[in-house]
Symmetry: C2
Subunit: 229 residues, 2 copies
DNA sequence: AAATCGCATCGTACAGCGTACGAGTCAATC
DNA sequence: GATTGACTCGTACGCTGTACGATGCGATTT
């Protein structure tokens, strides 16, 4: 084992509901916990971005000392992994009778993409080999749906993999692309600076005002057409 | 302007061929240059990974002081951006007569993916808004080929975007997935630890022995079928 | 020959980082 | 009362990116 695996050496606190507050936190700060750490990390990432998250700042925000975090968490990498996975939770809409499988798949994948775009830092955390339970649950659901829709076992991996690629690529590309309106002027200027070296891109206005959502949906449809004929 | 833009405040050295060596480097180290910095960065990244690149270590490798780098480069971020783009250079095979456009597209995109997989750190650098000349050149080539293949102007952006997504997703996913044979045993163990909570994934052996290349190609074909009917 | 100027290099210093280590505090148990 | 285990945290170490200013150099101007 290479430092990955179960969180630090803790076993989750056992003190349920008993003491109204301990003496440790004189100003009513609740005790540290994995949940609070992850939630705080997400807040901090949302507010300050990737660079804004440091163990010291996270601990400050939680009213704790920096080293206290390390009881609940092995290292900073694990905080990132947990934050990413926590943002990818998925609650399937509870449908009694099975809707059309294709609608389910599209819904889940669009929700996936939306969840990541809601937290722009998440795209930067993707290229690490961290498969948290929520990511695995989404893949499981995807596989199950496709399988019950009649995709052959032999083609299942290709299907899952291609669809996942599409979602990942769409979020990563958009993160690297989208100028989110705050510096659209800068983009204009940048393109102008290229002045004719990339005529096709310029004339297609690829970098400027794209219908990202529509393109995502369209590519998804083509993939599904091909994968599940 | 927000610290992005043209490299630092240098204008590239003017001394062409004249002096055989200056007095500054008594042991024959060639002078610093953007090219040498970028090449050194790629070497260091290949050898030590993302975390292994620091300005001090890079300067050491080049036989220079750390702060000397900052004459040629604005900051560390720019080093990353330049390293990524430098790895994505593409030389189209010189074909006199136009081959089939689809073969050209597939070749270019497979080369793109291969280039990134050859430098595993590159996937982690994707989710930043850095569109270097080589990336733009690839997009330009892609757009031009599709356009000359008859893709309507209105559909061009969707096509470029979907194909790009596919490549990005494939490299990012693989980077986060592939256990590159060094710890395949760890993967077995990891999956065993999940013990039945993700039956579809387990039975499909999705995480273990996949035909990544074939899946990439298959998804690409589906996309091209749909995009360019 | 002397002064000036731009390019380029680099030593020092600072604030911040992740985290190893060990001492500390508390509640529950024996 | 003593012990144990869960949990917190102060200090310290080595490392980071880079701001600042001093220095050297070749070429140009005076």
């Amino acid at each position: 084992m290479t430092t990955k695996g179960g969180g630090a050496r803790s076993k989750r606190s056992k003190r349920n509901g008993a003491s109204p507050q301990s003496v440790r936190e004189p100003r009513g700060e609740p005790p540290l916990s994995l949940e609070r750490i992850v939630a705080g990390a997400v807040e901090l990432l949302d507010a300050e971005g990737l660079e804004g998250l440091s163990m010291r700042r996270l601990a400050d925000r939680l009213g704790a000392g920096a080293m206290s975090l390390y009881w609940h968490v092995a290292n900073k990498e694990q905080v990132f992994d947990l934050a990413l996975d926590s943002v990818l939770e998925y609650r399937a809409s509870p449908h009694v009778e099975p809707r059309d499988w294709r609608g389910d798949v599209v819904h889940m994948l669009e929700d996936w993409r939306a969840s990541m775009l809601r937290h722009p830092w998440s795209a930067s955390l993707l290229p690490r080999r961290a498969l948290g339970p929520n990511i695995l649950a989404r893949l499981e659901l995807l596989g199950k749906t496709l399988s019950s829709a009649g995709v052959a076992q032999a083609d299942l991996n290709v299907a899952i993999w291609s669809l996942w690629n599409h979602v990942m690529g769409a979020t990563v590309t958009r993160a690297s692309f989208d100028l989110s309106k705050d510096d659209q002027a800068a983009a204009q200027q940048r393109l102008a600076g290229l002045s004719g070296r990339y005529p096709t891109i310029e004339s297609s206005r690829l970098l400027l005002d794209d219908d990202w959502d529509g393109a995502f949906r369209k590519g998804l449809d083509f993939l599904l057409d091909g994968l599940c004929p």
